[in-house]
Amino acid sequence: MIRLEALTKRYGAHEAVRNLSLHVPAGELFGFLGPNGAGKTTTIKMIAGLLRPTSGQIEIAGHDLASHPVEAKGALGFIPDRPFLYEKLSALEFMRFVAGIYGYDPGALNGRIDELLTLVELHQVRSQLIESFSHGMKQRLVMASAFLHQPKVMVVDEPMVGLDPKGARLIKQVFREYCDSGNSVFVSTHTLEVAQELCDRIGIILRGELVALGTMEELKTKAEVKGQDLEEIFLKLTGGEGFKESEAAL
């Protein structure tokens, strides 16, 4: 569903992402991990069409993003880490707006809009302006709008930011069910428990390069770690074992 081929992104002399290749098949929930500044958000933004790769290729549901952006973006749902929205629209108006820009007649999607707003528990406040929503409510609204056009691929940047435990539980459940019905999720996160609990496969990026890729078992073998803890694997693979010294300095 998502295919990245030799993807590179350069900002002047700095290489944010270097020669990244991976494939996320249908039905897979893929976790993308890495320390701050490793290139996770840059990769996600390239997949969402917000950044242009310096070189390499991105394919979404069989459509090349560079040569067929409309088809590729039509098959994609995107949930960014910071939900900047049109503050002067109500939640319901925003959902209808999104339906419109994806080419649907909003009236024909009324049932689905109601269903999604109910799912993210915003149906009661659907007529209130977004400017009065909390961060978590905005995040849930973005999530509902991303599912509106029934995309085959969902790309999510830090899904748990600003969500309460109930919202977090809901997201995990929705993503799992979504993948079980043959779609794919590409999720970048700092929350290792989420990755460990949810993801079928995990990729770890460090300084723009993919340093590890595989299931939990495969990563454990690669990192030569005995325990079941993803944190330990992550720290070993990203050279973060020295954090205890930092902790002592604090």
């Binding site: 969402a48 917000l50 929205l85 002067k88 820009i101 994806y102 080419g103 007529s127 209130q128």
Partner: protein, 569 residues
């Protein structure tokens, strides 16, 4: 370290701003420097006109011995009252942003900064932001008084002593009004209320000044014209008003007399007392007001539900993508007080524009055939310039007004081309109506011939397409998605470039069209038919006008689209 209410503590709290200004200067781009240069040029030109106007009036007043003293007093009183009133209005709005809504306040309020120090620092910031324009206006005015005074240095000393406390008093009172409002009403309501009131205030001021026909002052028929003009703006003077204290000091300085001590003492002691009272008030009310500013109450949906229904129904025939963007843009515009209140200013602009033509000398319509047509033709240029000024605020900003939510469009299957054409077709109809009203009504007041009226109407129709195309295209080529207020987008360097491009475009259209207009009118005046050569020249020139207008739409739109496509967010 504890920060008390001392100049050093206030300077420490203002350091991020002063360093920010210094850093901006160090890292200024070519666009920034161009903008600064243009802004400085316009300011100097404006200051020169203000100085020249007042200098002339004061010289004129000086010719009438018995009227000179009372009239000078009246003019100075008008200036002081104007400064006090405008500053009060401007401070109330500015204080809302600087003292309650600014992003950096969460850091300062949560840190152990004593309230008096915070209040003092924010008061200085409010004073600087709300008074710079009034101060800039006052400099040429007082310079004109100094230049015509028997002792210019004494008058300037009077200004230096009596003007700063007046500015400080206005700032303190304005801040206190905002503090009281914030403690009593929700922040959103206060913001909307103040923005609306300030827009109405500006409209009222524009009308008041224009209706008094200030051009009379350049060539007054009698001393009564001058007296009548200034008496319109003077409120009944009261000895309790700080502006009256300032006036009495300035009048003494103007007359070369010893400066009176009492009003000076009153001014400085009142300013000092208001700073202290403001501090006390801040101790009691600031926490309540700031807390209210953080509360997110359910915002009301449109207060006019029938407008919403109307928009829904009117937009129904359009295809889903265009309809969605149109509805979103219109709803956002109508629900944002900073945006729709600008319509009041637009109405004021149109009324003043047409009023200018309605007060032309009554014998104007009997002017020569040549003059009549010349004015009608030049009016096209003026209408084009007014359209560009309106478009820089409403059309150039249309892409940038997507703001930080632009990611929604970029990650969707909507192409940037569709987005730009949607913005184009949304902006075009209201501007077409505006341009036709401006042209047809002004031609009516000018008594233009049918030929010129039809020509103006058709030309402005084409020019509107060009101005909108330039606005949408250049707005996309110079986007500014991070802004606090939409008006900042129009004031950006891209906005200035747009004004230059749009004005040049209008000038080019006028130049090309002047050829057929001259040839046709000359033939008409002589009562002869157009020669074959003249006809050919006219057809070529008019075709060039059409091509120029098509290019003014196509080229900027293509440029804007390619810039947006290549943009990374």
């Amino acid at each position: 370290m504890t920060l008390e209410f001392t100049p050093a503590s206030i300077a420490a709290l203002l350091a991020p701003y002063s360093r920010g200004v210094r850093n901006r200067q160090r890292h200024a781009t070519r666009g920034d420097r161009l903008r600064a240069f243009l802004f400085a040029s316009v300011t100097i030109l404006f200051a020169f006109f203000v100085f020249a106007g007042f200098y002339r009036v004061l010289l004129y007043i000086g010719q009438f011995d018995e009227f000179t003293a009372p009239l000078t007093h009246r003019v100075l009183d008008t200036v002081s009252t104007f400064v006090l009133t405008v500053l009060l209005a401007s401070t109330v709005v500015t204080a809302l942003a600087t003292q309650y809504l600014s992003d950096d306040l969460s850091l300062l309020v949560s840190s152990p900064v004593p309230l008096p120090a915070l209040y003092g620092a924010r008061l200085v910031l409010t004073l600087l932001q709300s008074s710079w324009m009034v101060v800039l206006f006052s400099v040429p005015v007082y310079a004109a008084f100094a230049a015509t005074a028997p002792s210019p240095s004494l008058f300037l000393a009077a200004v230096a002593l009596a003007f700063p406390p007046l500015v400080l008093i206005a700032t303190c009172i304005g801040s206190m009004v905002t503090a009281a409002l914030m403690a009593a009403f929700p922040a959103r309501r206060v913001k909307e209320m103040l923005l609306l009131l300030s827009a109405l205030f500006v409209v009222l001021l524009v009308f008041l000044i224009r209706v008094q026909q200030p051009e009379r002052l350049l060539n007054p028929r009698s001393i009564y014209d001058v007296a009548e003009f200034f008496s319109t703006f003077s409120t009944p003077s009261s000895p309790f008003l700080p502006s009256a204290w300032t006036t009495s000091v300035l009048v003494a300085g103007r007359n070369g007399e010893t400066l009176p001590l009492m009003p000076l003492l009153l001014l400085w002691s009142t300013a000092a007392a208001l700073v202290v009272i403001g501090c006390w008030m801040a101790r009691g009310l600031y926490a309540i007001g700031y807390s209210r500013a953080q509360e997110s109450r359910p915002a009301r949906l449109s207060s006019l539900p029938f407008v919403d229904r109307l928009l829904e129904n009117v937009s129904r025939p359009f295809e889903p993508r265009f309809r969605s963007l149109l509805l979103k843009d219109l709803r956002t515009f109508l629900r944002d007080t900073t945006q729709w209140s600008q319509l009041l200013l637009l109405v004021a602009l149109v009324v003043v524009y047409l009023y200018n033509f309605s007060v032309l000398p009554s014998n104007f319509t009997f002017a020569t055939f040549f003059l009549q047509n010349l004015f009608s033709f030049l009016n096209l240029g003026l209408a084009g310039f007014v359209l560009a000024a309106v478009a820089v605020r409403f059309v150039f900003t249309s892409v940038s007004s997507e703001g930080r939510a632009f990611w929604i469009l970029r990650s969707s299957p909507l192409t940037m081309e569709k987005l730009l054409w949607s913005k184009f077709w949304t902006a075009l109809p209201p501007l077409l109506i505006l341009s036709q009203i401006l042209t047809l009504a002004s031609n009516h007041f000018l008594g233009a011939t049918l030929f010129m009226t039809v020509l103006s109407s058709v030309t402005i129709l084409f020019v509107t397409f060009g101005i909108v195309g330039l606005g949408v295209g250049m707005g996309a080529a110079f986007p500014k998605f991070k802004f606090e207020n939409v008006t900042q987008i129009a004031g950006s360097s891209g906005g200035l470039l747009y004004m230059i491009a749009a004005s040049s475009f209008v000038a080019a259209v006028l130049f090309l069209e002047s050829i057929p207009v001259y040839l046709i009118l000359s033939a008409d005046f002589r009562g002869l038919p157009l020669t074959g050569r003249a006809l050919a020249a006219s057809v070529v020139a008019l075709s060039a006008v059409v091509v120029l207008n098509l290019l003014a739409v196509a080229l900027p739109m293509r440029w804007g689209r390619s810039k947006l496509d290549a943009m990374e967010i």
